[in-house]
Amino acid sequence: MATEPLMNPAAVQTLAALIFGIGLTAAVARRNIFIVLMGVELMLNAVNLSFVGFSRTLGGDASVLGQLAPLFTIAIAAAEACVGLAMVILLVRGKDTIDADAYSAMKE
């Protein structure tokens, strides 16, 4: 099945690292709660890409595993989005704002 190696694996990992960094920045630097959530989704996607990229560098069973782990990540990400958005709805109802910095009832 596997033909000649296509892309340079280092390039794939670099792309994953960059997307992860952008997602993390969005998660920690933005105040809009939706963007924060989307940043988290980006991070998860970057990790999946990293998995797939690494699976190309390994043979046999390990390469299957590298494509199997993202399945679980996707499923958990779906659950996370589900609960996360429900929490956002709850928070917006309570605080009437989507500013993440406003959700700080625990700090005092």
Partner: protein, 677 residues
């Protein structure tokens, strides 16, 4: 009785405990508690069925006769496995455990029945019955366990139940203290049990009794010499565990205080069954003990010392239950003396007879206390024969049995102990101390007659000193209490014949002739005793005429018992010198107090005070030096930081915390990479 049913014997009382415990919890809000009849039925029925099963098992063991009958053994499940140790949770009934099982379940059932009457008016009736049933389950596990850990499970279980039942009336602080005292003393002994078990495992490579016995039976002199230190230390440590459970010096002080529990508890746990577990364990490990003369000497001398100390202390007590408790301590000393002299079957025989007569004595004392509205001071009793005839009869039979007058229980068992002591070969510093100790034991037997006659004289035979208004309202003995009293009273008269075996021989039981019990126990302890006798012969000891010794001891013993009884009656026939007011402390004073509480004082000075000093030292070091100084430094540092930058950081936004966490993660990964390469 099939081996596959063995698990039922401990499981039934456990089931009763769970059931009654649930009922007790369910009825906790009801002012009267759960229905008494239901609780009583289950509580008595469960041990009764266990008793029936034990009878079936014993008859199965006895039916084939001879020594070839293998023990009943059931492996229930693997308890733990791995690291070179596969330990099944297995139960065994052999000749020794079947005998213990018979009287534990039998007398246990009777005392359950008695408790139904005794505790009838108590608010915690169901709780009490649940504890008693739990005790039965644990005690049966202790007896039936085929290995040290299973026995230890029951050992801890009976300790727990003992604690729960001594402190049953936990609203009285002294009673709760007594419960804690018992528990802590037992913990010290349990440590000995554990360490001794480890040592035996190191020596034999197994924890199973059969394997341990096999190793010691087959070990040659070189193997024994190689492991000498481990064997001696292990057996002495296990005896320390037995001393804790069976109230031997130096761990004996908890048992008299344990009388804080309700009287049926004193009869069942602290006289008839649990406290004899130590003797049982020594007999169970008889094959090991006979190869260690050090351990045998320790057992023998400590048994003798405890017997003397308990007898003298029993003489000066004013509380009827305390007097009986010290008597129990003394009698347990006799049992260990027999075991130390190498007569394990005699020790078990005394355990057996003692269970009957001490239960009878305690239960009749309980009937007296119940009748006199919780009066326990013997100086305020007297002349109760007419009012409490059943209690009197039971105590009379018990008294007859314990003093060693012919032909009740201790006439046989105690004479056999004296005989084994005189005939024994126990060496201390290369001198045979057995005959000297035998002489002391003979005097102690006389003392036993004195203090027991004192008890029965003060309670029944001397003129009445009971308060007139109490005298008119003496509670009778209800039927549930009377039946066990009568059975146990008769039992204490005839139990001694189990050794002689005449009635069983007449009934056609195989081996039921002379020395029935000796033959019954021979498959378990016979090899050890034969080894000891062979060693004595090899050492060139000339055996005297066995029959002459037996008849001499029996004759002299009877004379001493008779003289002691007469002395006891003569001294106290008119009651005590002065009758204290109601509510006066029953603790003995003067010499009696010094003797009774000497060990408590010693323990206080040797253990409690040093530990307290060390504890306070640690407290000051930790509290002042460490927590104080370090705490102050930390606090000052935090305050200095907190008013400045750290304060802002601490109260910052969620995303800052997240970013900091990520930075920390990056740092951790960087550290890992650096370390890894």
């Amino acid at each position: 009785m099939d081996a596959s049913l063995l698990w039922l014997i401990p499981a039934l009382p456990l089931f009763g405990a769970i059931l009654n415990g649930s009922l007790s919890l369910a009825g906790a809000k009801d002012s009267y508690g759960p229905p008494r009849g239901l609780v009583a039925t289950f509580a008595v029925l469960m041990p009764a069925i266990s008793f029936a099963l034990a009878v079936a098992a014993a008859s199965r063991l006895g039916s084939l006769g001879g020594e070839a009958m293998p023990p009943l053994r059931a492996e229930l499940f693997t308890w733990f496995a791995g690291a070179g140790l596969d330990l099944p949770f297995s139960l065994t009934i052999d000749r020794l455990s079947s005998l213990m099982l018979l009287f534990v379940t039998g007398i246990g059932t009777l005392i359950h029945l008695y408790s139904v009457g005794y505790m009838q008016e108590d608010r915690g009736f169901a709780r009490f019955m649940a504890y008693l049933n739990l005790f039965m389950a644990a005690m049966i596990t202790l007896i039936m366990g085929s290995s040290l850990p299973v026995t230890f499970l029951g050992w801890e279980g009976v300790g727990l139940c003992s604690y729960l039942l001594i402190g049953f009336w936990h609203k009285t602080p002294e009673y709760a203290d007594a419960a804690r005292k018992a528990f802590i003393y037992n913990r010290v002994g349990d440590l000995g049990f554990l360490l001794g078990g480890f040592a035996l495992f190191h020596v034999t490579g197994s924890l199973d009794y059969a394997a341990i016995s096999a190793w010691f039976q087959s070990a040659d002199a070189a193997a024994l010499a190689d492991k000498r230190v481990w064997i001696d230390a292990g057996l002495v440590l296990i005896f320390l565990g037995c001393a804790g459970k069976s109230a031997q010096i130096p761990l004996q002080a908890w048992l008299p205080d344990a009388m804080a529990g309700p009287t049926p508890v004193s009869a069942l746990i602290h006289a008839a069954t649990m406290v004899t577990a130590g003797v049982y364990l020594v007999a169970r490990l008889s094959d090991a003990y006979v190869v260690s003369s050090t351990a045998m000497t320790v057992v023998f001398t400590i048994g003798c010392a405890t017997a003397v100390w308990g007898a003298v202390a029993g003489l000066v007590q004013n509380d009827v239950k305390k007097a009986l408790a010290y008597s129990t301590v003394s009698q347990l000393g006799f049992m260990f003396m027999a075991a130390g002299a190498g007569a394990f079957d005699v020790a078990i025989f005394h355990v057996f007879t003692h269970a009957f007569f001490k239960a009878a004595l305690f239960l009749s004392a309980g009937a007296v206390i119940h009748g006199l509205h919780h009066e326990q001071d013997m100086r305020r009793m007297g002349g109760l024969r007419k009012q409490l005839p059943v209690a009197y009869l039971a105590m009379f039979y018990g008294w007859w049995a314990i003093t060693g007058l012919p032909f009740a229980a201790a006439f046989f068992s105690k004479d056999l102990i004296l005989e084994s002591a005189f005939a024994g070969h126990v060496h201390l510093f290369h001198a045979n101390i057995a005959p000297i100790v035998g002489g002391i034991a003979l005097a102690t037997a006389g003392l036993t007659a004195v203090y027991m006659t004192r008890v029965i004289t003060l309670v029944f035979w001397s003129p009445s000193r009971v308060d007139p208004e109490v005298k008119h309202h003496i509670h009778g003995t209800p039927m549930t209490m009377a039946i066990p009293l009568i059975i146990l009273g008769i039992g204490s008269l005839v139990a001694g014949f189990a050794w002689v075996g005449l009635p069983l021989g007449w009934l056609g039981v195989p081996d039921g002739g002379m020395a029935f019990l000796q033959g019954w126990l021979a498959p378990v302890v016979g090899a050890a005793q034969a080894k000891l006798a062979a060693a004595a012969t090899a050492a060139g000891v000339v055996h005297g005429d066995h029959h002459a010794l037996a008849w001499t001891v029996a004759g002299v013993g009877t004379l001493v018992a008779g003289f002691g009884s007469f002395l006891g009656y003569w001294l106290w026939r008119n009651g005590p010198k002065e009758v204290p007011a109601a509510g006066t402390s029953t603790a003995p004073t003067g010499f009696g107090g010094g003797w009774t509480f000497g060990f408590d004082k010693a323990a206080d000075w040797l253990v409690v005070k040093p530990v307290t000093v060390v504890a306070f030292g640690i407290y000051w070091v930790v509290e002042l030096a460490i927590l104080g100084v370090a705490g102050w430094l930390t606090g000052a540092g935090a305050r200095a930081l907190g008013d400045g930058y750290a304060f802002a950081l601490q109260r910052s936004r969620l995303r800052t915390s997240l970013a900091l966490a990520m930075l920390g993660l990056a740092a951790a990964i960087a550290a890992l990479i650096m370390v890894g390469s």
